[in-house]
């Protein structure tokens, strides 16, 4: 198992954002996570990537390492990369620097070598830059490399955060609503790029997405969360017909008796 959580819990005050979620993800899979707003999808990402500390009793394992209470940068260094729902681009840095800062964990030279500025450093920096330019042209942003990230359009920004997350050559990539706010054509384009990158770098993916077409078309297995609990898991087709899922999205089907009761109260 690449990623495993056991009894994962997180409460904000009295609200149980994540309630006893057991999650297992084998290597090479594309996993979708869906659920209504406020069901704990992003909280799940934040717990796994270390942004929040899980409540006592939880256990998270990534690639054989216990990462339950590790800080985010250590989890990142183990090869777990993620994107954010609100992108969190480095607005005031050039596009190429955005991507190159994602390379951080793979930089080989030591601190003091950098201070002294040996030739080796500049050679390596050039290699990094070439590799990152290649990545940028793969996602189609090579022409914009020198511009500020804040000058990009919404769709380009989504590509840029994707490139930044890939730059560290992760084992597991967690995408938090990668296609939010894109037009259908752009969604298809983005998903095509994501799939190409997956094949190129041998990634395992977890995708949170509200556009169900994306989830149904690309994911092998879909996990459904509601009120912090895992209510269903299975292939897209199984999940689609699951009663609990339909209930979570559309509400409960009531007979006349129940309806009368509900209205009277």
């Amino acid at each position: 198992m690449l990623l495993k959580t056991k009894n994962l819990m997180k409460a904000f005050g009295g609200l149980k954002a994540i309630d006893k979620v057991d999650f297992e993800l084998p290597s090479g899979e594309i996993r979708g996570i869906i659920g209504p707003n406020g069901s704990g999808k992003s909280t799940f990402f934040n717990l796994v990537s270390g942004v929040y500390d899980p409540d006592p009793g939880s256990y998270i394992e990534f690639n054989g390492h216990d990462i339950t209470n590790e800080p985010p940068h250590k989890i990142g260094a183990l090869g777990l990369s993620r994107t954010f729902q609100l992108l969190r681009l480095y607005q005031d840095m050039s596009v190429i620097n955005n991507v190159m800062s994602g390379y951080h964990t793979r930089v080989k030279y030591k601190f003091f070598e950098a201070v002294i500025g040996r030739k080796k450093i500049w050679d390596q920096e050039k290699e990094i830059k070439d590799e990152m330019m290649e990545l940028l042209s793969f996602v189609g942003l090579a022409d914009y490399a020198e511009l500020n990230a804040s000058e990009l359009s919404g769709g380009q920004r989504r590509l840029l955060v994707l490139a930044r997350a890939i730059a560290m050559k992760p084992k597991l990539l967690m995408l938090d609503e990668p296609a939010a706010g894109l037009s259908p054509v752009n969604v298809d384009n983005l998903m095509k790029i994501i799939m190409q990158l997956k094949d190129k770098y041998g990634l395992t993916l977890i995708i949170i997405e509200h556009i169900l077409k994306v989830v149904m078309d690309t994911c092998n297995i879909v996990t459904v969360l509601d009120h912090g609990q895992k209510i269903a898991e299975g292939t897209p087709n199984q999940v689609k017909d699951d009663n609990a899922v339909i209930e979570a999205y559309l509400g409960k089907k009531m007979n006349d008796e129940e309806m009368r009761k509900a209205l009277a109260v």
Binding site: P71, R82, S101, Y109, A114, V115, W122, R164
Partner: protein
């Protein structure tokens, strides 16, 4: 020309050696009196401080207003070592760098919890506390300051006049700027910038935020310490607590902001311009603080990335347009 550029890119220190050689020749060609040498030394000292301040404020985004306190620590480490041990610049300079670096840790720790204006207040208090501590300490010469600090002697030649001291402050400045260049151009500089822009996503990229914050404070403190030591030995070798007030801090800030926050040459451009302006406006002493405060506000309003960023932007936009035109064809 292209070949030359490539060589410089591979061996950046060659560029610094060329700059050093040019600046070595400057006094004998252009300078007509001692005051110009003195002013140049001041510019070099300010460049060192501004280069350091650019690391912590421009690149790492930590608002520190106590930097002048660190500069004072550097000066007084050198001054006290001279007063009690009779040490020379060659001993006091490394000592000042180390001691100020340690003070830098103390200034950096609040940055783990505080941000923006709150951090500014904490560091402002720290800087002022250092100054008051010095001013009220007999050990540090209190309000009398420390006077006639010695100048270094090389091969029996004393470097005790401004025109000779130029050749002492110049190499220190070149080395400091070289270090700041190679730090900021490497992955460390990028890590600083990403901590400034978005700590949460920096951490997700595997960057240890606390480590880089404290590193920025230590490095910039070391720069301030070096500058302070060189300043202490600057002829006539006199330091006084009044040289380390908030007014000085505002000029340092004006240098970095005006030159370009987060621009690799920002602090240097700013230090040159602001030091000269500071000197020209000496007759208007009462208005100096007003002038520099206004400079900071206007720069942030109309040219947020300072002169350096402004010039860069022109070239980047031009290159981008050319690329688009090429594609159009």
């Amino acid at each position: 020309m292209e070949k030359f550029k490539n060589i410089i890119r591979q061996y950046p220190f060659l560029g610094f050696i060329i700059a050093y050689l040019i600046l070595l020749a400057v006094p004998s060609i252009f300078f007509t009196d001692l005051y110009q040498s003195h002013l140049s030394s001041l510019i070099f000292i300010n460049i060192i401080v501004a280069a350091g301040l650019n690391i912590v404020k421009g690149y790492c985004g930590q608002v520190t207003v106590g930097h002048v306190g660190l500069y004072a620590v550097g000066s007084y480490t050198a001054g006290c070592m001279f007063m009690y041990l009779g040490s020379d610049l060659w001993v006091t300079l490394p000592a000042a760098i180390v001691v100020t670096g340690l003070f830098g840790i103390a200034f950096g720790i609040p940055s783990f919890r505080l941000e923006g204006p709150y951090l500014a207040l904490a560091t402002l208090g720290g800087g002022e506390a250092i100054r008051l501590f010095i001013e009220n300490g007999e050990f540090f010469g209190s309000t009398y300051g420390i006077s006639s600090i010695s100048q270094p002697v090389i091969f029996g030649i004393p470097f005790d006049t401004p025109d000779k001291y130029y050749y002492i402050s110049l190499p220190v400045m070149i080395i400091a700027v070289y270090f700041s260049y190679s730090i900021l151009k490497s992955s460390i500089g990028r890590a600083f910038m990403s901590v400034r822009e978005d700590p949460i996503s920096a951490a997700a990229s595997g960057i240890d935020i606390k480590k880089y914050k404290i590193l920025a404070f230590i490095l910039s403190a070391m720069f301030a310490g070096a500058a302070g030591a060189v300043y202490a030995h600057l002829p006539p070798g006199y330091i006084h607590p009044n040289n380390y007030t908030v007014i000085e801090m505002v000029t340092f800030l004006a240098m970095v902001v005006f030159g370009g926050l987060g621009h690799i040459w920002g602090g240097i451009i700013g230090a040159i311009i602001i030091t000269i302006v500071y000197d020209l406006t000496r007759p208007l002493y009462e208005y100096q603080l007003f002038i520099f405060g206004l400079t900071i506000v206007l720069t942030i309003l109309f040219m947020p990335k300072g002169i350096g960023g402004f010039i860069d932007k022109i070239f980047i936009d031009k290159r981008f347009k050319e690329k688009k035109v090429e594609e159009g064809k």
